[in-house]
Symmetry: C2
Subunit: 242 residues, 2 copies
């Protein structure tokens, strides 16, 4: 039983170890954003089971996925649970691991390229930049939608880049929080939708033009929103931050 | 010309795309922590150039690396610049890219599995955990050695995990900062040295036992130090935090 990170979607950004587990698999459980080409790495007769969750439409409840993994791996079949990106980053694997542990089924976790790395590479740049952006914060749109903006925005400091996964749904709150914190001028925003795919879209803006930019660029999730506050830019004309 | 993330070191955690660029390479420039097995993916007659930097002993100054990349790629040779982990995370690629841009040499950045993902998978767990750890902060020992602890430790909040890359050198300051912030009980520490290698070492402790743990475990860099402050643990008996 292997939990495998597929990388950002395209077939050749999975690791060699991940590809090998797919080649050996009897059964593969895969998510909504997995590119069909990644599944082509598995043998033609391997069983492919779609357990994807579209927002607001849970195809397979989590408990059913966990039970199926335990049942099929328990029969001695070679099971791959294929997750987008890195299974350790916003991939909600804890319930599956807990079920496997409870059933005493051994498993390995095979790390993958997380979406922020893929998106940054697609922009031709780096997530961290020595002396300018020495800290990287990974958060989700869900966190950025938090009514209490002080909590998450306090983690955005000079010298920090924040990557918000699935950030489009939280764009209105993100823009509001940045403007209220007096960070319109200090923080630049880059958005990458469907990083490393043929239909990748990128855009660049500031908080005040974020909603307009998303609309005119036709950007939607899956997208990474980067908020960058370089070390050199100091805060001006702002109220006290939480 | 390709900047390729080799992943955490072992041969099979590089991506398929990264492996392919190695297979096509004429010349490879590689760093200190690259496992020799990764280089075996390249043709036997490809030229392998070690440009590693040991702490306090710069084998090749950065400017010399940049000049060599430009010179050799400029001759039309297929060059791979192989970096540990993900080239976007604490890999100091900016100067090389700037030199390539200035010489008008096209390049691609191929993302890789970053050390935090590899270390977390090696522990059998996840970097983020929904409801418990919804935010992940990547920092370096250099940042954590900062005399002004208030800056970096303010990014450690309830529901946050911080991964400190090359954290061993900053252990004394990290422990001091955690204790002064009243976080001895709230924050658990996991250290993974040489993640995913045959000589991997892991340890678990609290701030007050960090230095002793590092010494008795024989842990040294390259190591990732995880500081975890779960959402449920609230701060007690502490002074005001910056």
């Amino acid at each position: 039983m292997a939990l495998v990170g597929a990388g950002p979607g395209c077939k050749d950004l999975i690791t060699l170890r991940g590809a090998q587990r797919l080649q050996e698999a009897d059964v593969i459980f895969f998510d909504r954003l997995i590119d069909p080409e990644v599944l082509d790495l598995a043998p033609a007769n391997a069983k492919r089971i779609y357990v994807g969750k579209a927002p607001g439409c849970h195809h397979w409840p989590q408990e059913k996925i966990s039970q199926a993994l335990v049942a099929i791996a328990g029969q001695g079949q070679r099971v791959v649970r294929l997750k987008c990106g890195d299974p350790g980053v916003f991939a909600r694997g804890a319930e599956e691991i807990d079920a496997l542990d409870a059933a005493d089924i051994p498993y390995e976790i095979i790390p993958g390229v997380t979406a922020a790395s893929a998106a940054s590479a697609a922009l031709g740049g780096f997530l961290t930049e020595r002396g300018t952006c020495d800290t990287l914060v990974l958060a989700t749109g869900q966190t950025a939608k938090d009514a209490d903006n002080a909590n998450w925005i306090a983690q955005l400091q000079p010298g920090t880049r924040m990557a918000i996964y699935m950030g489009v749904g939280a764009a209105a709150n993100t823009a509001k929080a940045l403007i209220e914190a007096g960070l319109e001028k200090q923080v630049s925003i880059d958005i990458v939708s469907r990083a490393q795919q043929s239909d990748q879209v990128t855009a660049k803006c500031r908080a005040s033009t974020l909603l307009e930019t998303i609309e005119t660029s036709g950007i939607s999730n899956p997208a990474i929103m980067f908020l960058t506050w370089p070390q050199s830019a100091t805060k001006v004309n702002s109220p006290q931050r939480g």
